[in-house]
Symmetry: C2
Subunit: 134 residues, 2 copies
C-alpha cells in the first residue's frame, strides 16, 4: 500500500470510528507515543492527551451526536508526517478539517485535528452514496 | 537556538509579516520545496502554491485588512515537522490556528495554516502590550 493510500485509509478510519461511535477504534487511531492535540469547531485548543481523548469519547458516546462523513480528502506527505485536508459533512452542513498523522512503523497515527466552518462545499455528486464508506 | 525557540521565531515571523504587511517576508517564510496549503477562516482549502501565495498577498496588500496578533503559541515537534497552535487576535476578536512547519536546513518553513473561530480567549493579561512584537 502506498503512503497516500495508507493515509487515506487512516483518515477514513478516523471518520468511520466517529460515524460508527466506535470508542475503541477512536482510542486506537491516535498516536500513543507522540504528543497529540485537537481543536474542535469553536473550541479552544486541547493540548493534553486525556483532554483530547475524553472529548472524543464524550462526542462518540453521546447518542445525540450527529453523523459525519468525509469528502475530498487531500493528502500531503512531509517525510514521516502527513496532513489530510478534507470536508466534513454533518447534517447537510460542511466543516473543513486539517488532520495530521505521523508514521509509526507501518501505520499512520493521528496527532492533531482541527475542524472549522467553511462556506465552500465539496463536489459531492461524484462521491459514493451515503453509507458506503468502503 | 533550540527547535522550540526556532519554531516560535518562525511562527512569530509569520504574524509579523502579516501585521507589518511585508509581502517579501510573507513569500519567504513559506516553504518553496514542499507542498503548501492553507485554510482561511470560512474558506475552502487552498491546495496550490499560487493560490496560497496570492491569497496572502491580497490580504496583506489590502489596506483595510485588520491587524493581527498571536497569543499563546504551543509548539509540538514531530521530527522534521512541527505544529504551532495559537490564538489570533483580530480587532478584539479571537481565532484559533494550526500552523505547520517543516525543517529546511537550519530554518523552519511554513507548509500549512488553518484558522477558524473560537469561543475561547487566551490569557492576554500576561502578554506584552500591543505593538511590542519583539
Amino acid at each position: 500500500m502506498s503512503d497516500i493510500d495508507a493515509l487515506l485509509f487512516a483518515n477514513e478510519a478516523f471518520y468511520r470510528a466517529f460515524a460508527d461511535r466506535d470508542d475503541e477504534a477512536m482510542l486506537d487511531l491516535w498516536s500513543k507515543t507522540s504528543q497529540i492535540s485537537c481543536i474542535h469547531p469553536g473550541w479552544g485548543p486541547l493540548l493534553d492527551r486525556d483532554e483530547v481523548m475524553q472529548s472524543w469519547l464524550a462526542i462518540i458516546r453521546n447518542p445525540d451526536s450527529p453523523k459525519v462523513r468525509c469528502h475530498e480528502p487531500e493528502v500531503r506527505l512531509y517525510g514521516a508526517t502527513a496532513t489530510v485536508l478534507c470536508f466534513e459533512e454533518i447534517l447537510g452542513n460542511f466543516l473543513i478539517a486539517t488532520n495530521i498523522f505521523v508514521r509509526e512503523g507501518r501505520l499512520w497515527k493521528m496527532v492533531h485535528h482541527q475542524a472549522g466552518p467553511t462556506s465552500m462545499k465539496p463536489q459531492i455528486e461524484s462521491e459514493r452514496p451515503p453509507g458506503l464508506v468502503n
